[in-house]
Symmetry: C2
Subunit: 216 residues, 2 copies
């Protein structure tokens, strides 16, 4: 009978994020922020839109990999955020309904130093080209602070910050709904990643952004 | 100055899932399983496909609400699963690339008895129509067991079960990739929700399914 290769995330040094890192687990000590995302332009020309956006986006300061389900960027928080903001804005087409599903994460207990590029400087490569682009977005967000009993207070903190910023639309089952300009949303994403990166050893922040939805 | 209405998820009885339930929090005691999902058919006729699927799907045994970003079903686990499986299969079109983003959840500490319908019987309304439909799917899954330090072992358990079933493709950063027939995938989703509903007080299970992707 064939011997099955099982994962061992429950053990010390093993990874719970599914990355298969069974030996080098370093968690938050790697300093790596990751974002796994998928663009879904709801049009017959979705391939062209995605390829154009990918081509136009500067990813020199992150590590990246594309599979059949999603693309991942890994590196320093500001450069991962910059690359994703660039890719999303570059994929925007007036009148075309599109969603972006993005999973930001940092601190998986078994994360490894590999599959990453930690750029030395702070200069953002995409921001200069996209900082003056404006269009309205709807978004739903969910924050998962892992491994701690008092996770609710961190969720409340980030939701209340959205209320302070005036971008909060409503609370819903399993998520919070935001409504604002695209620049405000990516500023807020930066705030959440900065806050969670500082306060939590392991978190996942799920964001789904929708533009040009025919649903009012 | 305007008085802001903040959320209070950090307090006893308050909800961290974003549902705004500040008083009636009951968590897992409600017995309610929820699923928030979005279909993204990547074609010009996405509106027609989604509306047709919604119309064709029997949702008499769940509570549902549709917003501009997603639809939610809440009720007993088996009926929520049956409705989502129905909606997804009803939206499938040969050759049309489509993704489904689904967030299953149970046990949010502040969940309420409301916004739900707990059907008394076990008869599945959609299964008879869809049980013989077969097509290949690719999926990525991520499980988030909340509020406990040893969450990794539960993740390993469900990933290893996928390995046992022969539907596991690989581990990746922040998710696990599955590849199988649509029936096998929904059987697996049922296993995960049953296992987590029994073992965990609060969990979130994220599933993204892709069909007819042009990426090999």
């Amino acid at each position: 009978m064939e011997k099955k290769e099982y994962v061992t995330y429950g053990n010390k040094g093993a990874c719970g994020c599914g990355c298969g890192a069974d030996k080098e687990g370093m968690g938050n000590a790697t300093g790596i922020t990751g974002c796994r995302f998928s663009l879904s332009p709801m049009t017959d020309s979705f391939v062209e839109i995605i390829l154009d956006a990918v081509k136009k986006t500067r990813t020199d300061k992150v590590w990246q990999e594309t599979g059949k389900l999603s693309t991942i960027y890994r590196g320093r928080q500001i450069h991962v955020e910059d690359a994703l903001k660039g890719c999303f804005i570059n994929a925007y087409r007036e009148g075309v309904h599109m969603t972006l599903e993005a999973t930001y994460s940092k601190g998986c207990p078994g994360d490894i130093k590999g599959d990453s590029f930690m750029a030395a400087d702070d200069e953002l490569l995409n921001e200069p080209e996209i900082k003056d682009v404006h269009f309205p977005v709807a978004a739903k967000i969910s924050l998962y602070p892992m491994g701690i009993p008092d996770y609710m207070k961190y969720i409340a903190e980030v939701v209340n910050h959205a209320i302070d910023l005036g971008i909060y639309e409503k609370s819903a089952h399993y998520c919070t709904v935001l409504s604002c300009d695209v620049q405000q949303l990516f500023d807020y994403i930066h705030y959440v990643n900065s806050y969670c990166g500082e306060k939590l050893s392991h978190y996942i922040f799920e964001v789904t952004i929708s533009v040009n939805s025919p649903t009012k």
